[in-house]
Symmetry: C3
């Protein structure tokens, strides 16, 4: 089976079949990263440009490793060294890159919709590595892969997503995906971090962590952006963590075999207590490992690969 | 035929035969970037260092892609992360890199003559990727390649180069090259942006855009550096663009089959109106595509490749 | 013979046999960098991450070239673009990278002990590329390789190390290594730059350059960090260089066949006069060349390579 899409822009656009195709393909790539020689010639002679307008270690590194393990040529462009500083529009940057004949452009941008604009403008494949508060599809796919691995599927699962829902592209992409795949989603966060129309997305909305995580199969904690402290979204880290931290006390409300997820980087002691982050429930590092496999799968599929 | 030169420092030093050799070789490389597998083993095991003391997306990316498509190992060094910050001289940086046995150093530097100093100091090949207000030979070569492609040659052509002539290494390199190849060059710009001895370079000097572009076969618009606005070189962007912008009205003065060029990044609505930048006359994206081919050709030729 | 160590953290931990194994292996790699095709498939499919929390051109470039000449995939992460800015702990960064299945992490960090912490946390090999004022083992190994090349061994040699001993990880690693290998070490520097317990390391301590370099076979000058001038460690560069610069006058005190070393980047006219830096005694560029070979050897040995 092939992916009938040029681009990966958001989970909203993906069908259940497409998500399954991506996750199945990713599963088949996991093993490559455990070999002595972690490299296959699949994408030899393909050019992948990582165009990052926002700083990111893990996502850029994950894509770069994914590309290299498939033998693609990878080129990194970061905003600080790019001609963005010279005032070029995104469209012009895109068309210029297009003219150099890459095969895939992976883009992270602070503006929601930037990857979509790019994808309409250029003939090559675009993969959204996070756009503003909008979507972060590769993160949601690696999250879903991790859940499927650990739970065998999605049907009947309760997933609690907790924290700054309003400013989280991770939450948004996961809600789209998990609902599609048949899971039930509950969200929890302070009122200032909860979008108004949240219930329209078909999720349970809570303002107390405890309510959301009760009987949850999966608890997904979001990173709190500590720099928002001075923007009157929340009074202090201490107050935030006293109400919205997952810890040894409240984890007992979830199912016995709950798994705890986090997109990273973790603020230890803020949204997650260290004993939970490093404890037996945590699958945070599985998420990272699966991230490389999911990105390998996407690079492979958007260039016409068959599963 | 081989290039009997260790370095590519400026168009001023190149003969007509050498320019033709480079353009012919570049033509033969264009096709590689359109293949399914865009990679040939030509420079396998060669090390190319991109040493950029000034930020640049497109030139660095173009060189990096060119190197990778020829299977060279490419290493990027940018000023911000380099030991330049530790006060090392350019000569010491060069000799240190030399001692690591690269094959080619591509250098961009804000000081005119920096690549020449480097080339004298080290035994490896040096390619000038832009030095101060002096030369930008790879840009001029890709411009000449584009002109030759579109017009079949240079003889009898009128090329108008318009904008901040004084601070443009692109203008300088193109004037040297186009004159050598038999084209006629006219320049236009405000008096504050025109070098005094311009007529000695054998070009027509104009202070009105309209005069220069009349009957032109090629109009090459230069990027205005908007940050110079406060340096009293020009009063305002608005005033500048009202006199020195190429647009739907004045383009009619040029030949019917005029082509419009720009080294990028374009300031839309300043030196170039959007309808011209994106219109049928524009060959701006051909320039970018040819840039990769020209750089492949240069990397190939300076390491002893034969056309 | 194989290296029975997962990591290279410091010279202090290496035995004489291990140092000889590394130097012998490095010797065998020197020739690769002089070939037409400077590349062997030894580490194909291995992933090397260069994780630099401090800026460095030469060390990072040297490791990157070493990795590429062995056909490894190399990934650069620098602090400025990493999620360190997002407040992640080093341990979390490490574990996240570990989860992406690299083979080797090369780390430079301003905190002494950072590589050791990393090495304990992750299952992959860690190579210390400089940690605070603690150790810089790859530099000491390339220095020892250079000495062995030039002098045929270490026994009976007098090595003078001069400058800011207290803040030099290069000095520390060299003292450990040279003493182990049978050389005699003398250090010289102003009292404010001399650690109190220096004599416990088994070296001669001097406060005058002339005393230390008298009859020396090797003079190793350290880089003075000019930015310390305002930290009242020394009054002025001029005063420092009048007492602690190696120059044409005082070099005569050393042995006739003395060699002069410097880890770079050199402050010309401060710790080293230009005629000495570029003169016949200087082996500074041999050090750089040997650096690539030593790093190739280490990448090879820590991944299980046999000499």
């Amino acid at each position: 089976m092939k992916l009938a899409k040029k681009d990966i822009l958001g989970i909203k656009d993906l069908s259940v079949e497409e998500i399954n195709l991506i996750l199945d393909t990713a599963e088949s790539f996991v093993e490559i990263s455990t070999r002595e020689i972690k490299k296959v010639p699949t994408l030899r002679g393909k050019t992948v440009i990582n165009l990052f307008f926002e700083a990111s270690t893990r996502t850029r590194t994950s894509f770069e490793i994914a590309g290299k393990r498939l033998s693609a040529d990878t080129i990194n462009i970061s905003a600080s060294t790019s001609s963005v500083v010279k005032g070029e529009t995104l469209v012009d940057t895109a068309r210029n890159l297009e003219a150099m004949n890459p095969d895939i452009i992976v883009i992270r941008h602070s503006a929601a919709g930037a990857p979509h604009l790019l994808a309409r403008m250029i003939r090559q494949s675009v993969i959204n590595a996070g756009d503003g508060f909008h979507e972060h599809p590769t993160q949601a796919l690696l999250d879903m892969m991790t859940i499927r691995n650990k739970k065998g599927g999605f049907g009947g699962l309760k997933v609690a997503i907790c924290g700054d829902i309003a400013h989280s592209r991770v939450a948004r992409s996961n809600i789209y995906g998990l609902k599609k795949m048949g899971a039930k989603v509950a969200v929890a966060g302070p009122a200032t971090m909860m979008p108004r129309d949240m219930d329209k997305m078909g999720v349970e909305v809570h303002y107390h962590l405890e309510e959301a995580i009760t009987d949850a199969d999966i608890v997904m904690m979001l990173r709190i952006q500590t720099e928002r402290q001075n923007q009157s979204i929340f009074p202090s880290l201490r107050e935030y963590s006293s109400y919205f931290s997952l810890n040894k006390r409240n984890i007992g409300l979830a199912k016995k075999d709950v798994i705890v997820m986090h997109p990273g980087p973790v603020n230890r002691g803020v949204e997650l207590s260290p004993d939970i982050a490093d404890g037996p429930y945590s699958v945070i590092l599985d998420q990272v490992t699966n991230g490389v496999a999911v990105r390998m799968a996407l690079l492979y599929l958007v260039t016409g690969g068959e599963s």
